[in-house]
Symmetry: C2
Subunit: 299 residues, 2 copies
């Protein structure tokens, strides 16, 4: 703006406050108290952000277009908006805030964008890789209550990458069906076990908008190798978490801030021979032992 | 959560601060200074919001799904995310903040979700309704500089609703082509004129996610009747604004906070007879006279 016009300018900062006030007054009429609380806080923070950074019309236009593009990258088993939430730390903040637990209960972490409801069911001990490529891995453990009792009828969703760092939802899910993804249900002993392939480190999807944001900002787009678990059981609070591979080079720089020390475990290299389930392995493989401690359902 | 576990809880509020701190430290490495400023402020406000309202995992899940659904309502000429920005007052805040102007220059207002680039060009004075239904309307005026000089070669985009309150982008644009939408270019006198149909009040689109939010919150989803203008000319700052119909019942409760008193004008009812351009009208019609004062381009 040329300086010669400065004297004629309206006091535009007064106007900005009037806009915020008008919007807040309107949304104060929201009937539901919780929704009202959410909307008023959201509006206050969005407006504060825009004023604090003096958001320009060009930046606003870019953002609107970027949000529209982000919507186009969503598909069954992939929510690109979740990757933004994950990459901005909002997911871990919410998970941590909304999951009070005793210190000895398993820590939750973010769900990530790739959970599918209605994954295929497998019998306990089965190979869930379903054609996924990679080094064989046997995982086992027990689902326990806070008091150390086995959790019967726990429904375990497990999903993870293959040795390319891809998930089934990124590689023709509709044609090939699910792979490296299963639902398992515990018996009275609360134990679980399955065969699959060893997960590897991988970057956030390379074809969406979230990766564009990460490349322009933190430059950290990789995730350490991990297995995803969602465990649900009667009387227990649903637990969504990962188990991370201690040998990963990306434990300190997870693109989505999901690593917690208690969730790092040993995926142990084993020479060919007898596996934990008695299977005679002709090639090297990995084993994982991990017990999950659930928390009681919220009263 | 049952009270018996309270003593064993981690201090989760300390953890929340550590998460925010870790995220801010990571994004502080953003190379571009302006992007760094935007990201750090955005993260700070998103985290503050989530902590202030104690956002739950269920609310987060709903939000992620709602964003994904919002993406599905976007199509050429309709950006559903813009309707949220408009309805939360962010659009007017940005427009007002980023458009310093002398008091006598025309006020800007929000662009809205329905602008199309590359709209059809019409000669000055043409009927741009292109089949839109409604009462005939003649609009005319002049594009002026801040010093009152006519602006030659101003490119004017105009777009508006028909008498059902719909835009072409909401009614089979691909099959019917554009209607009630045009690009006009001024000559040396800076004057413009066109025929079309009188716009009417209308609600935010009834089939998307923004209307769901408005119904659950403010209950105000209507916009007062208006014409949209975007005016671009060499040496002038692009002006995006509306002209509102003074007889509208919704001037005080615009769903998107776009009304400014200086943008309210008289759409005058005229009995059949000679129109401003000399045309002999066999039925009643409306006339609008409005001059736009642009501001100099930013130096």
């Amino acid at each position: 703006m040329s300086n010669s016009h400065d004297k004629g300018l309206e006091n535009r900062y007064d106007s900005l406050e009037l806009i915020t006030q008008e919007v807040l007054e309107r949304y104060a009429q929201t009937p539901d108290p919780r929704l009202r609380e959410l909307m008023l806080s959201l509006i206050k923070h969005i407006h504060s952000f825009a004023k604090e950074v003096k958001l320009t019309a060009d930046e606003w236009n870019f953002t609107m277009s970027f949000l529209e593009q982000t919507g186009k990258w969503c598909s069954p088993g992939r929510n690109e908006f979740m990757i933004f939430s994950d990459a901005l730390g909002l997911s871990m903040l919410t998970v941590t805030q909304d999951y009070p637990r005793p210190a000895h209960a398993t820590e939750p972490t973010l769900v990530g964008p790739f959970l599918l409801e209605d994954a295929p069911q497998f019998p306990m001990g089965a190979d869930i890789s379903a054609g996924a490529t990679g080094t064989p891995m046997h995982a086992q453990g027990q689902i326990l209550t806070m008091d150390g009792q086995p959790v019967a009828n726990a429904v375990i969703d497990v999903w993870h990458s293959d040795d390319r760092g891809l998930y089934d939802v990124q590689d023709g899910l509709e044609e090939r069906g699910a792979w490296a993804r299963a639902v398992l249900t515990t018996g009275g002993d609360g134990r679980f076990s399955f065969w699959s392939v060893l997960p590897v480190d991988y970057p956030v999807p390379q074809d969406g908008t979230a990766i564009q944001m990460l490349k322009a900002t933190t430059g950290r787009s990789w995730r350490p190798a991990h297995l995803h678990f969602r465990i649900r059981a009667p009387g227990q609070r649903p637990l969504i978490t990962h188990i991370f591979d201690r040998t990963s080079k990306n434990l300190d720089g997870d693109a989505v801030f999901g690593v917690r020390p208690s969730l790092i475990a040993d995926f142990k290299h084993q020479a060919s021979g007898i596996a934990p389930d008695g299977k005679d392995m002709m090639r090297d493989f990995y084993t994982l032992d991990y017990n999950f401690v659930m928390t009681d359902a919220i009263q």
